[in-house]
Amino acid sequence: MAELDRKKAPKFQEITDIGFQLPEKKKLSNGIPVFQYNLGSQELVKVEFVFEAGTKYQLKPLVASFANAMLKEGTQKKNSLEIAHAIDYYGAFLETEVNSDFGTVSLYTLNKHLGKVLPILKEILTESVFPKKEFEQKLSIKKQKFVINQEKVETLASVDFSKLIYKGTKYAQHTELSSFDNISVEDSRKFYEEFYNLNNAQIFVAGKIDSSFILFLEDLFGKEQLEKKRSEFSIGESTYLSSTHSILKPDAIQTSFRIGKPTISLGHPDFSKLKVMNTIFGGYFGSRLMTNIREEKGYTYGIGSALMSKIDGTSHIIYTEVGKEVTQLALNEIRKEIHTLQNELVSEEELTKVKNYMLGSLLQNTDGAFDMLERFKSLHYHNLPNNYYTQYMSDIHATNSQDILKLAQTYLNELTIVAAGSVKVK
């Protein structure tokens, strides 16, 4: 046998294909859309109701998150303990979540218990009563958590960053301590009635299901009369202007940075290529920012950059926490990396590595029903074509070093800098 050459990398194959599939699309007889993936070998299922009920629709802070959180706190038939017990007893998980665009309610269960727990999901969506006592309790608990989070430099920096980036739009809303005194159970109940309406819902399903599943959904949800209650919505006009902010927290031993700007959205023709540029810059472990600022300088435990896509706006953001002594040095290095990307062509070797990494990530992120469901939701809500991921792959392949240079010049300027810590930055 020939001596093993350990210096030489084994042969590898490029990723040319991902296994992404579209879900089966159905409609309940009252019009509620259902998207389902029947995949996997385990006897389990996830059923997710997505409502356009994110924080951007609320008229004051906390309302949307309380409308969402209160769903588990009492219905006409069950109090909060009975709801919890009914779900816990069957080993199921009922998760409620809210972000700036959506409010979601997800049920994870073994198939054998689906018949017992899905009706509870229906009950909380259609018969919630928002008991005052439960609301007051939740409010005081959330307030305590809020106060604790205000002690973290990363919270201070990211809240301020959002305010500046989304200035003028509904995304700029933020919670303050006084917000907790200005919200009532009625506010959140009204929001629930308007936004957690089945007319405003879409259903996403992943797991091992059979043909009886859709009949069960139809039986529970398809017969409800739907009425439109939601008012018109507009995100508002951005009045973004770049600026530099230092938030002082005298005892902090690290400084948290959030740096970035509003940028193009998912449907824009440059977006996939911008993603390649971002990956080179700060989007993976081998990125420029990570290599320089963590792996060469040791200023931080982690640094990265990302494109954060919301439905009505995307932001480009660099994030890190660095030692307070090296705050200014770290910022200088971030600026230097931007400058390099704007002025020097990326090598073919680095570009190829990043492309392969991105294709590998896409393959990893479309692995199985749960992952595919997430990718599909992104397509669906951003109104992207069904062949989006095929297009995305060919856009990645087509990106060249000139593109990267131009994109860096076009999209990495007029950045807003927020630093929270014990020192000021210039």
């Binding site: 385990q42 303990l81 017990h85 973290k152 430099v153 031993i253």
Partner: protein, 414 residues
């Protein structure tokens, strides 16, 4: 059920292969039988610092991450008090690249001064970010030495203090590697759409020539039985008082492990759990509360911790926890409540079988504990736990003389 094939190389490396044709991704998981418990008391944080160094280039390959990213792979690692675990996931057609990279760093690291210096500062920043610059971040640095007087579980994985990491020397780093990072101290587990025969051939090719090294025989100091209640009070710049309680419990292989785990579920899993219902919802003494066991391989800790509501004294909060636990030593848990927590374990286990990485890690971990088959026998052991077992362990172990209590107080600001 995780089906697997086992193969042992001549140098002692154990290989477990779980074929799963539902995914285009393969996982290569390597667990080394070394954790923070194997450290010298004056050089704590070493196992974790070492985990960082494992990415700083190996004997024949200057960089670990680049070649992996180049074939569409990703990787990470973690260190605990018991183990150090490295994993990578990549497209199945490129599995050999993963084996090439992993086997070279098992053979030997490059040991460059540069890598040591940089990872030293990265780990110090990690220490600050996660333990010092976070509200309540230093809890484990306080609670571990309170609960353990002798056993090396008394220090946290990150280390006792920053200076131990600052002082680490290259010769110590090398000695640590040759002592612990040998094929006989490692288990390789692979999950994905693979043929076991082909994998065994590839593993023999890349790992077969790595020297077996010396067997490390662990001989850790034993923790003496705790005989009286321990107490510590600290003041910190945090907004809210917190309470932590830790009781000694059995090891991972003991039959009572499953009873302790279910006990923690009875107390705090889900909103219908006892501590949440009694102390958060009914009595409104805490704003959050949790119970869990640490999952340690050797005799571990059973923890209850919570954030105390403003205006409630610490003693009152503490008594309420004790009372809630004491009731479990008098009255048997009802069958329905026991079924509830067992159902939750069953569904968590089933959901855990979706993910290849999860499965590879699980069989590797149990092989390290003694036998990979245990990974598939756990559900049965949970099912066997009776209400009487829960009452018995509570009576025996969840008692004041076996408990360490930490009052973590908010400093009043002027």
């Amino acid at each position: 059920m995780i089906e697997f094939v086992k193969h042992t190389l001549k140098n002692g490396l154990r290989v477990l292969i779980h074929p799963d044709n539902s995914t285009p991704i393969v996982t290569i998981n390597t667990v080394f039988d070394v954790g923070a418990k194997d450290e010298d008391e004056n050089r704590t944080g070493f196992a974790h610092l070492f985990e960082h160094l494992m990415f700083g280039g190996s004997i024949h390959i200057p960089e670990f991450d680049g070649p992996l990213q180049n074939v569409g792979g990703q990787n990470n690692a973690f260190t605990s008090n018991d183990i150090t675990n490295y994993y990578l996931t990549l497209p199945k057609q490129n599995i050999e690249t993963g084996l090439w990279l992993e086997s070279d760093r098992m053979l030997s690291l490059a040991f460059t001064t540069e890598s040591l210096e940089v990872q030293r500062s990265v780990v110090i920043e990690e220490f600050k970010q996660r333990y010092l610059n976070q509200p309540y971040g230093d809890v484990w640095l306080l609670l571990r030495p309170l609960a353990y007087s002798t056993h090396p579980y008394k220090w946290a994985t990150i280390g006792k203090e920053v200076s131990h990491i600052e002082d680490a020397k290259m010769e110590e780093v090398k000695a640590f590697f040759y002592k612990h990072y040998t094929p006989q101290n490692a288990i390789l587990s692979i999950a994905g759409d693979v043929k076991p025969d082909e994998i065994i051939e590839l593993v023999e090719k890349w790992y077969g020539t790595i020297p077996a090294g010396n067997k490390y025989n662990r001989n850790l100091p034993k923790e003496p039985k705790q005989t009286e209640a321990r107490f510590l009070e600290v003041k910190r710049n945090v907004p809210q008082n917190a309470l932590y309680k830790a009781w000694h419990m059995c090891n991972r292989l003991h039959a009572d492990y499953y009873a302790f785990d279910l006990l923690s579920d009875i107390l705090s899993r889900g909103n219908s759990s006892r501590l949440y219902q009694e102390l958060v919802k009914e009595k409104e003494l805490f704003t959050e509360i949790g119970a869990y066991q640490m999952g340690s391989m050797e005799n571990g800790l059973f923890i209850v911790s919570g954030k105390v509501k403003e205006g409630i004294t610490m003693d009152k909060a503490n008594e309420a926890i004790e009372k809630c636990l004491e009731s479990l030593s008098h009255e048997l848990v009802e069958e329905q409540e026991l079924t509830k927590v067992k159902n939750k374990v069953e569904s968590t286990d089933t959901f855990g079988h979706i993910n290849g990485l999860n499965k590879a890690m699980r069989i590797g971990y149990f092989e390290l504990l003694g036998n990979a088959d245990l990974a598939n026998e756990e559900m049965k052991k949970y099912e066997q736990v009776s209400a009487e077992d829960l009452r018995r362990i509570t009576t025996e172990s969840i008692i004041p003389s076996n408990c360490s209590t930490l009052y973590y107080l908010a400093e009043k600001k002027n």
